[in-house]
Every structure is written in structure tokens, then in C-alpha cells.
């Protein structure tokens, strides 16, 4: 999380204790320090009703797993090292002893498993649908290797498209419809919900809800080819007022550029970039790559690879195949005047 004031409500002493047990003192300090920064750490952090019951379930399972492991390890150690009566060396034990081990061991295991299975089914039922009907529907489409985000509305004029950044209001369940434009991807915002595959020709959906304002990292988790590693996104959870303001801003088309260099950049963009990218308001309507209408409102570019600064934008355009080898966007050899113009135009996309 980038916001240091935002701390998990659930990850107090209990969670840390579990984590320490699981890590079995192997990775004590270093991992603990890193955990603080790990943006996908769903085991200790959860910020919404679609994932919190799962987090508790994970703690219970981890605790039982550690306990069972310790018991079995102790039994095994006892079996290996217990003192034995001096015996005739050639004698062989009797065949029919020891069945009690199996009866008791299997019996106890079965009871534990049965209880766990019931707990699993209850949790599954809890998280399978939100308590209230979702007020907002977002359609997310996986592409090689980025995310198209469409905000639906009954009024077609109020629909809009963005990419790699999903804004949601806090305290409200959001329905996410999942589609794929090419191969199978998986949509995963671990601190808000579990993952769901995006399968071509199949209408999948899931829901999520954030209880706390913040920025939640998402990641593709189904192997989808060369740049599967660099297919991230962010979910920005805002207060309902901020969210409405953001929506209104996104619905607005851009005002065509007026400054001289920006106009040149806009021409260049329409000529060279608009085949894939769209920018509403200037007639760029490509549909194969992220919509850039409000590019500068986003925190990251290149599906979570780089922070969104003018320098990174230029670096991305010039060295895309080095930063993200195999990406669908070709590398461009641009003169410094072209770059300056394009950069000037991109800076107007607020």
C-alpha cells in the first residue's frame, strides 16, 4: 500500500503469530520487513467482505496444518528414537499389532477434516455473493497484456472506458464482469477478493467491495504468454463523493490541443498511434490498446510496470520492446522533435 496511514484492521498480533509459525523461524526478520511492503499479501491483509472470511479461513487452516505437522513430527520422532527393550536381535515383530494407530489416527483426522469441510462450505456460501445487490457494474476485459475497464450505465452517454486502473466507491459491492479478448487471463485483487479466470467465449463474473480507502494491487494469475509477468493493475477505492467526481471527469472528452507543439503531437498521435489507442474528443478510436483519454489521471502505465511520469511515458514509447519484450506495442524510432511534440500532446490528456 502506498498509503502509510492505511493499516489493516485484521493483521494485528494474531496474523503475525501465524505467519511466524508458518515460516518456522526460517525467514524471520527479512521476510517480516518485506511483508510490510508486499502489495499482494492476502494472507495477512484483507480490506473487504469478499476476502476477509477467506483470510480467517486461511489462518485456521494454516494453524491446524502447523499443529498437525508438529504432532506428526513428534510422533515420528518418538517412533524413531524411543527407548526400546533389549530384545533378541533376530526376532521379528508380530504382524497383527498396531492397528489401533490407524483407527485412532484416521478417526481423528476424519473428524477434523469433516469440521473443516463444513467451515469451508459455510465460508464459500458467505463469499459467493454480496449481502446487497451491487450498485455498480464494471466490465473488465483481459488483453495481452493489459486490462480494459468499461463502466456500464443504462444511459449509453454515461458509459466510459479506461484501462489498467479500476476506481470503486468504498462500502458498496461492485460486480465485475470478466471477459477475454484473446487467451485465458485471471483477474485477481487479492486484498479484496479471490481470483477468477477470464475465458474467451464465457461470461464470468465476481464481486468485490473495499471497506477502506486505498490502492489495491491486482495481477493476472493465469499464464498468458510472454508478458504474463507484467500484467498488473490497480483498484483505487475512494469515498463515494470522490468516486463520483472521478467518474464525471472520466466521462468528459478531451479538448483538442491548442498549443503549437501539442497540436503537432496530436497530429502525430492520430497518424501513428490512433490505429490502436483511442482518445475521445480528437477522433482517435483504436480498439486494440489502452484508451488514453485521461492518461494522466492514472498512477501507473504499461499495466503496472512504470509509474506514470512524462519521462516514463517517453521511455516507454521509445523502448517498449526492451521494457516489456514481446509486447503488442511496437518500438518506435522517433526524432527528438517528434518526441517533444508527442510528449506535449500526452501532457494534455488529464
Amino acid at each position: 500500500m502506498n498509503d502509510s496511514g492505511l493499516r489493516c484492521r485484521h493483521c494485528a498480533a494474531v496474523g503475525s503469530a501465524f505467519f511466524s509459525m508458518v515460516s518456522a523461524a526460517m525467514l524471520s526478520s527479512a521476510a517480516e520487513a518485506e511483508t510490510e511492503a508486499a502489495p499482494l499479501n492476502y494472507f495477512l491483509h484483507s480490506y473487504g467482505p469478499a476476502s476477509t472470511p477467506t483470510m480467517y479461513l486461511g489462518w485456521v487452516f494454516a494453524a491446524i496444518a502447523v499443529a498437525v505437522f508438529l504432532i506428526i513430527a513428534l510422533l515420528l520422532a518418538g517412533a524413531l528414537f524411543r527407548k526400546r527393550a533389549v530384545d533378541e536381535p533376530a526376532s521379528i515383530g508380530r504382524d497383527n499389532q498396531g492397528m489401533r494407530w490407524i483407527y485412532i489416527g484416521t478417526g481423528v483426522s476424519t473428524c477434523i477434516l469433516f469440521a473443516l469441510a463444513v467451515y469451508v462450505l459455510i465460508t464459500l456460501n458467505t463469499i459467493s455473493r454480496p449481502a446487497r445487490t451491487p450498485a455498480l457494474t464494471v466490465t473488465v476485459t483481459g488483453y495481452d497484456w493489459w486490462w480494459k475497464v468499461e463502466y456500464e450505465d443504462n444511459d449509453p452517454a454515461r458509459r466510459f472506458v479506461t484501462a489498467n486502473e479500476i476506481h470503486i466507491p468504498i462500502g458498496l459491492p461492485v460486480l465485475v464482469k470478466l471477459k477475454s479478448a484473446d487467451v485465458i487471463h485471471a483477474f485477481w485483487v487479492p486484498m479484496l477478493a479471490g481470483k477468477t479466470q477470464m475465458i474467451p467465449g464465457q461470461a464470468n463474473e465476481q464481486w468485490l467491495e473495499a471497506e477502506v480507502e486505498g490502492i489495491y494491487r491486482g495481477q493476472c494469475t493465469q499464464y498468458c504468454g510472454l508478458q504474463h509477468a507484467h500484467m498488473g493493475f490497480e483498484v483505487v477505492a475512494q469515498s463515494p463523493a470522490d468516486f463520483r467526481a472521478w467518474q464525471d471527469e472520466q466521462r468528459r472528452a478531451v479538448i483538442p490541443a491548442s498549443a503549437a507543439d501539442a497540436v503537432a503531437g496530436q497530429h502525430f498521435f492520430i497518424e501513428r498511434c490512433a490505429g490502436c489507442h483511442s482518445v475521445r474528443g480528437i477522433g482517435a478510436a483504436g480498439a486494440h490498446a489502452p484508451d488514453l483519454t485521461h492518461l494522466n489521471s492514472r498512477r501507473l502505465i504499461a499495466a503496472g510496470l512504470l509509474t506514470n511520469t512524462p519521462e516514463h511515458q517517453v521511455e516507454w514509447i521509445m523502448h517498449v520492446q526492451k521494457l516489456k519484450p514481446g509486447d503488442r506495442m511496437p518500438g518506435f524510432e522517433l526524432s527528438s522533435s517528434e518526441i517533444a511534440a508527442l510528449s506535449a500532446f500526452l501532457s494534455t490528456l488529464n
Binding site: 508380530r94 498396531g98 490407524i102 489416527g105 470478466l178 477468477t196 499464464y223
Partner: protein, 664 residues
């Protein structure tokens, strides 16, 4: 035995075999050796059908594949040791992890167990060979050729690159244009033939080739494990072969089985693949669990606790194993009801595993363990088995799996299962049966070093992967950013993997040196109880000079066990030496039923395997005439194979009765 022979249904045996003994060096024994020996030199090498030779080849070939897969893994661990490394390109990384998975799962883990079973079954069951020796040879050749086939495009930089489960549509022609996926698809169909004929051979061998008296409740657990795996493979492999064949058609004949745009279903692939994939996972662990169940008791100086319970749990696991495939697909958007059912079965399947774990621990507890190298591997295995089982229960919990699925937690789990339950018993098994294979002992000091280095390296390498998964690291990423919290765990994993590899290296050095300089091994160096230890080390080509008569589960411990008066007869039994012969017995009670005429060495399995492989190569390269020619060649080889031969007639014509005088 006279009763047994006479009680067989019509037509009666036309010959009753003599009962007697044939000690080493006797005329009868020398004649047997002559009958069963393969020709020396390359002729014998290409034509042998000896199950021991084939078993060793399986073991050696599978181990070479293990080393190749291991080297692939080490290269990947170098790339992942630190964030944002550029040792490998994304495409190289993707091919490496795919070939690593394909190699370990298909070319190492089952074949290595087939190697043990091929070598050991007839020795454990008191037979002279497998039921279908030539089919056995074919199964090996096809495995070897399919392995080479699957690797054919990798050195050209065109290896399969879609992961071992090869999900469509990424593997469709639209997204993967090279020959790589065709290599994988055709190679898997070819390998499927090998697995299927091998499985059929095991099934028939178990039911027909046991020594008289070895009723179904007296066979070793390894036999139960391999039998269960084989029956499962007969049902599961067709699903994979079909899936890969349909994919090949989609790519080469423009069909639309998986193509969503034209009405195909990507989910169909996932179902077909995992209907095969999950039973396969059990097929590659159950025989290995059998190795432990049979060998562990030797070092505990007592029989396995709960033989029947363990045998039944083996079969129960497999039966349930056919009903859990959807736990690989919890995140595909299936309805909650289906998820609930498959989640519950996935938890239930750990109950039979619990039976086995408690049986092993009880065996150690009640016995008097001898801490030799094989025992260390088996005891260590019990612990790793428990870790893999517990992480399996965690992934079976549907909501939790929504998080764990496709993260490194799953990678950790499957490596604990496949290395813990397969590699550790296999290496322990090699230490255990090495004296039987080669007549020499492996070095104990080096052996203990290899165990500890492997055990520590393994846990250091793979335990942190659980943590990487809980920290959200997805599988199959070729690099990662430094601010994700995954740096330390990945560095430790990489270090551990190299320590583990050093352990394997120590084991191999020990093996090679012991092969030449190991202390000579006696017939039964571990004082074990099962039949393979009743014959010389290494075994003579005919295995048993006389087919023994079996009275208990522990023929070599009968005098020391409190199990009643009945004794097995190991030195006196059926003398069968009119050509290659062994005894066929009834499926359940193992009463003598028929004298089986066994085939001589033959080149046809080799040529049939070669021609089939070349036909597949022709399909890959789209050389149609060549494919046709090779198919005809395969047909020719099959015709030669099947050509009726009087020496293989199982019944002498009635006109010239050959009923020999009974010895009494």
C-alpha cells in the same frame, strides 16, 4: 499340487510340470540360464525382452530426464534469485518451465516407477517375466522415442512454451504458430501408447503371473500401488490422448473443438486435461508409496502395520482421485454447488493418505529401526508427505484456493508431493534394491551425506515457496519487481535448490563408484522378507530356477514370525524348462492354471516403436508419403510380431498327449 491341477476346468492341462529343485550349478540350472539368456552384444541389446533389462533401462532413462529437468530448474532459479534479472528472455523462460514440467511429470515420475515395477514385479511375484515381454519392450522403446520426440524442437528454440497443462486458446494456432505445440501434442499421444500398453501388461501380470499360493492378499504393497496406478492409467490416459489429438486437429485440420470464436469451448480442454491430470498425479505417487510400504518394514524389523488397510487405502485414493479434477479449476467460474462437491471430495481424499501415514509411523514405533541410508530416505519421506498432504488440504478449501490457485503456494505443494513422495522414495528405493540390481552395496557414508544434503536442500528450497505464494507471487512469471516483498524468499529458494542438486550429485557419484567398487552383496543383505531376496544378487536371467510355492506374505521371515505352521517352498517347486516357460495361476487364489510359453527375444518391438515414432514425425513435418510409408512399416512389424508360432502355442494338440508322469 495335484489337486490344484486336476481341479482346473476343461480342457485339462495336457502336461503336468515336474516338481523338483535346481540348485545353482546343476545341469537343470545351467540349461535354464541358456534358455533365458539374451544374445551378447548389440543384437541382444536391441532384441531383449528381459524385464530386468527393461526395468533398468526405464530407471536409467528416467533418471537422465530427471537430470535434464533439474538443470532446467536450476537455470530458472538463477533467473529468479534476484528481482529483474535478465539472464533469460521471457520466451526462453517460458520454454524452460514448460519443458521442466513436461520432463518431470511425464518423462521422469511415472517411467521411473515403471522401471522399479518392471524390474521387481516378477521377482516379487515369483515369476520368470512379465505377462507380455515383447509388449514390455515396446512400452520402453516408445517411452524413449516419445521422450526424444518431445525434446526434438527444444534445442532449436521452438520448444513447447505453454506450461505442462497447455491451456487453449494460448496453444491454438492463433497465438502459438510454431511447431512447438504440435510437438507436444503428438509426443503426448505417442507417450500415451507407451503408458497404456505398459499399464495393461502390469494388470495382466498381477492377475496371472503370481507364484502358486500367493493369493491376492499376499502381494507386496508396491504391486498394489502399481496395479492401482495402471488401472487408473487405462482410464485416464485416453482423456489426455483425446485432448491432445483434438488440439492437433484444431491446429492442423482447422477443426474448432477449443476455438471460442467458432463455437468451441476452452473449458473443454481444462476438463479433459484434468480428468487425466489428477488421476495421473496419484499414478505417480501410489507406486512410490508402495516402495516405502514394502521397504520401510525391512528396516523396522517387523511387518507393515495394517497391510490390508494400506492396500485398500491405495485403491480408495485412486477411486476418489477420479472425482477431484475440478479442484484444479476452482477459479474458472463454475457454480458454487459444483465447487462445494469437488472441494469436499478433495478433502476426503486425504483420509486414505492418513491411513498410510499412521501405518508407517506405527511400523517404525513398534519396530526396531535400523538407521541405514534407505531408511533415512523413507523416514524423511513420511515428513515430506505430511507437509505435501497438509498444503493439499489447504488448496482443497475452495475459498482459500481462490487466493492460492496459480500462486507459488501451489508450486510448493506440488513439489512437496512430487519430490517428497516420488523422488525421496525412488532414491531410497535405489539404495535399497541396488544390491539386487548389481550385486554390490552402495556406500553408506556417502549415502547418509546424500540424504542429509538432499533433505536440507529440499526444505530450504521449497518451503519458502509456500511463503512466496502467501505473499501473492504468481506462477510462471519470468521476473518480478523488487518492491513486491518476494526478494528474500526467492533468494533462499534458489540457494536451497542448488543444495538439493548437490545432494542428487552426491547420490549419483556414490552410485557410479559403487557400481565398480561397492562391497559384494549377499543374496539378502538387508534381511528382508519378500521373494526378490530369495534369489542371487544380481538375479539370474531366469529369475527363479524353480517356481516357488508361497504360503505367506513374508516368505523369508516365516520362521521368525508367529504366523502358524505353513511354510513357503522356495528351493523346491515347479521345474519348467521346455523352452521359455513360466506358470500362469488363477487371478485371486493363485492356483496353478496353465504353463505359459514365453516368447524369445525379438526385434519387432524396437522396429514397431521406431516406425510408429517416425510416422508421428512425418505427421509433425507434414511429410505425407513418409507418414504412410512408416505406418505400413509399423503394420509390417506388427504382422511379424503376431505371426503364429508353434513354439508359442499354449496347448499341445490333443492327438499327441504329452502328459508327463507325475513325480509321485
Amino acid at each position: 499340487m495335484k489337486d490344484a491341477v486336476e481341479s482346473t476346468p476343461e480342457p485339462r492341462l495336457s502336461r503336468v510340470p515336474e516338481v523338483g529343485s535346481a540348485p545353482i550349478g546343476s545341469a537343470a540350472e545351467m540349461r535354464l540360464a541358456e534358455i533365458w539368456e539374451s544374445a551378447p552384444g548389440w543384437r541382444g541389446w536391441l532384441s531383449t525382452v528381459d524385464h530386468k533389462e527393461i526395468g533398468l533401462r526405464y530407471l536409467v532413462t528416467a533418471f537422465i530426464f530427471l537430470l535434464m529437468g533439474g538443470i532446467e530448474a536450476l537455470i530458472m532459479r538463477l533467473q529468479l534469485a534476484r528481482p529483474e534479472q535478465t539472464l533469460l528472455t521471457p520466451e526462453q523462460y517460458n520454454q524452460l518451465f514448460t519443458m521442466h514440467g513436461v520432463t518431470m511429470i511425464f518423462l521422469y515420475s511415472l517411467p521411473v516407477l515403471s522401471g522399479f515395477s518392471n524390474y521387481l514385479w516378477p521377482l516379487m511375484l515369483g515369476s520368470r517375466d512379465m505377462a507380455f515381454p515383447r509388449l514390455n519392450a515396446l512400452s520402453y522403446w516408445l517411452f524413449l522415442f516419445a521422450g526424444i520426440f518431445l525434446y526434438a524442437s527444444f534445442p532449436l528454440g521452438e520448444g513447447p512454451n505453454a506450461g505442462w497443462f497447455n491451456y487453449v486458446p494460448f496453444t491454438g494456432l492463433e497465438f502459438n504458430t510454431g511447431p512447438n505445440i504440435d510437438v507436444y501434442a503428438l509426443g503426448m499421444v505417442l507417450l500415451g501408447i507407451s503408458t497404456t500398453v505398459g499399464a495393461i501388461n502390469f494388470i495382466v501380470t498381477l492377475f496371472r503371473m503370481r507364484a502358486p499360493g500367493m493369493s491376492i492378499d499376499k502381494v507386496p504393497i508396491l504391486v498394489w500401488g502399481t496395479l492401482t496406478a495402471s488401472v487408473a492409467n487405462v482410464f485416464a490416459v485416453p482423456s489426455a490422448s483425446l485432448a491432445f489429438f483434438l488440439l492437433w486437429l484444431d491446429r492442423n485440420a482447422s477443426t474448432h473443438f477449443f476455438d471460442a470464436i467458432n463455437g468451441g469451448k476452452p473449458m473443454l480442454w481444462q476438463h479433459l486435461f484434468w480428468m487425466f491430470g489428477h488421476p495421473w498425479v496419484y499414478a505417480v505417487v501410489l507406486p512410490a508409496m508402495g516402495i516405502v510400504s514394502d521397504a520401510l518394514p525391512t528396516f523396522c524389523r517387523r511387518p507393515l502395520v495394517g497391510y490390508s488397510a494400506v492396500a485398500l487405502s491405495t485403491m480408495a485414493t485412486m477411486l476418489l482421485g477420479f472425482g477431484v479434477w475440478i479442484h484444479h479449476m476452482f477459479a474458472t467460474g463454475l457454480p458454487t454447488l459444483a465447487l462445494s462437491f469437488f472441494g469436499a471430495t478433495s478433502m476426503v481424499i486425504s483420509i486414505p493418505s492418513a491411513v498410510a501415514v499412521f501405518a508407517w509411523i506405527a511400523t517404525i514405533w513398534l519396530g526396531r529401526p535400523v538407521f541405514s541410508t534407505p531408511f533415512l530416505f523413507f523416514a524423511g519421506f513420511v515428513l515430506l508427505f505430511v507437509v505435501g498432504g497438509l498444503s493439499g488440504v489447504m488448496t482443497a478449501a475452495v475459498p482459500f484456493d481462490f487466493q492460492l490457485n496459480e500462486t507459488y503456494f501451489v508450486v510448493a505443494h506440488l513439489h512437496y508431493v512430487l519430490l517428497g513422495i516420488n523422488v525421496f522414495p525412488v532414491v531410497g528405493g535405489i539404495y535399497y534394491w541396488f544390491p539386487k540390481f548389481f550385486g554390490r552395496m552402495m556406500n553408506e557414508t556417502w549415502g547418509k551425506w546424500s540424504f542429509w544434503v538432499m533433505f536440507i536442500g529440499f526444505n530450504l528450497g521449497f518451503f519458502p515457496m509456500h511463503l512466496a505464494g502467501l505473499l501473492g507471487m504468481p506462477r510462471r512469471i519470468y521476473t518480478y519487481a523488487p518492491n513486491m516483498g518476494w526478494n528474500t524468499v526467492n533468494l533462499i529458494t534458489s540457494i536451497g535448490s542448488f543444495i538439493f542438486a548437490s545432494g542428487i550429485l552426491i547420490f549419483l557419484v556414490n552410485l557410479v563408484i559403487s557400481l565398480r567398487r561397492g562391497a559384494l552383496a549377499a543374496q539378502n543383505p538387508w534381511d528382508a522378507s519378500t521373494l526378490e531376496w530369495a534369489i542371487p544378487s544380481p538375479p539370474p536371467p531366469y529369475n527363479f530356477a524353480v517356481i516357488p510355492l508361497i504360503a505367506s506374505r513374508h516368505p523369508l521371515w516365516e520362521d521368525r514370525l508367529d504366523e502358524g505352521e505353513r511354510r513357503s517352498s522356495l528351493l523346491e517347486g515347479y521345474l519348467l524348462m521346455q523352452g521359455r516357460e513360466t506358470l500362469g495361476t488363477t487371478p485371486l487364489d493363485a492356483k496353478p492354471d496353465v504353463i505359459l510359453k514365453m516368447p524369445d527375444d525379438s526385434y519387432t518391438p524396437f522396429f514397431l516403436g521406431l516406425a510408429s515414432t517416425l510416422a508421428f514425425a512425418g505427421l509433425l513435418l507434414d511429410w505425407r508419403q513418409f507418414t504412410l510409408l512408416m505406418t505400413l512399416a509399423a503394420g509390417l512389424a506388427l504382422t511379424v510380431w503376431m505371426w503364429p508360432r508353434t513354439s508359442l502355442a499354449q496347448r499341445v494338440p490333443r492327438r499327441e498327449p504329452m502328459r508327463e508322469k507325475n513325480h509321485d
